[in-house]
């Protein structure tokens, strides 16, 4: 229960952050990616600002024996640069460039009730199911 409340509050902060920074707006995202057009550096400011906080904060936290509300840290353990990682990043990059939407802004954007966002989210969920199948095929 405590961890759900903590996650809810973190989700709210994240959703507010995406809204205030306008990263919820595909036009801002495409504006950043369109280096040959009217370039918009907002995304770089957002990512830079977020990274200052995480780069300073993360090492201070992982030094602790365990997180405050859980027995242990659940962090990714893989280290090798493999085909699924790179091919996944390529597919994600194409999709991100086509619509200007990535998972966070798409989910938070549902608050706008814009029908296109729901279409994108439905396709993204279907895509994750396909991705899970592909992962299993890769693992074999």
């Amino acid at each position: 229960m405590k961890s759900a409340i903590a996650a809810l509050i973190c989700g709210i902060l994240f959703g507010l952050g995406l809204s205030i920074s306008e990263m919820i707006n595909p036009a801002r995202v495409i504006g950043f990616l369109d280096v040959a057009g009217d370039w918009d550096l907002t995304l770089m400011l957002v990512m830079g600002s977020a990274l200052i906080v995480t780069v300073v904060g993360f090492p201070l936290i992982t030094r602790k024996a365990h997180p405050l509300l859980a027995d242990k840290f659940s962090l990714p353990t893989k280290t090798e640069l493999d085909m699924p990682l790179i091919s996944g990043a390529v597919l994600f990059g194409i999709g991100w460039g086509l619509a200007g939407l990535c998972p966070g802004p798409a989910l938070a954007g549902m608050a706008s009730l814009e029908p296109g966002i729901f279409l994108f989210v439905a396709a993204m969920i279907a895509g994750q199911y396909i991705g899970i199948r592909l992962e299993k095929a890769f693992a074999r």
Partner: protein, 140 residues
């Protein structure tokens, strides 16, 4: 160049960073929206379902609060119809295969100095820039 949203970008980015730091401090988790979503859609009770659902609810609630207290969500769709579906499928597949998106790899993974996250972020950034270039300046 388009006028960047400097204040919004820096404040919103900091909120995203703070959310990620709090998730690590409290739950010991990486704030990767794609991964959190996967846990929800696969109904994975073994890896904690309630905090994931709470986070996604918070994400939407954050954008709702923005609409209530700040103003309408800035949201200009950049794709529609079949293109939006293709983009959503690619984002879903890519984030699953590539184990993460802009938040998990771009904000959290880089703070953990994960080589996989550096490789992923560099790859999806370059591919997205090329995709936008082709869509905006070659095909149109």
């Amino acid at each position: 160049m388009i006028e960047p949203n400097v204040a919004g970008g820096l404040i919103g980015g900091a909120l995203i960073g703070i959310s990620s730091v709090l998730m690590l401090l409290l739950l010991g988790r990486i704030t990767g929206i794609a991964g959190i979503l996967t846990g929800v859609i696969t109904w994975n009770k073994a890896d904690g379902l309630s905090w994931r659902m709470a986070f996604v609810a918070g994400l939407v609630l954050g954008a709702v609060l923005y609409q209530l207290f700040v103003g309408p969500l800035p949201l200009q769709m950049q794709a529609s119809g079949p293109l939006l579906i293709v983009a959503g499928l690619l984002v879903g597949m890519g984030t699953r295969l590539g184990s993460g998106c802009t938040s998990g790899h771009g904000v959290c993974g880089i703070a953990r100095r994960s080589p996989r996250s550096f490789a992923s972020t560099a790859t999806f950034m370059v591919v997205a820039v090329v995709t936008v270039f082709v869509m905006r300046h070659v095909l149109s």
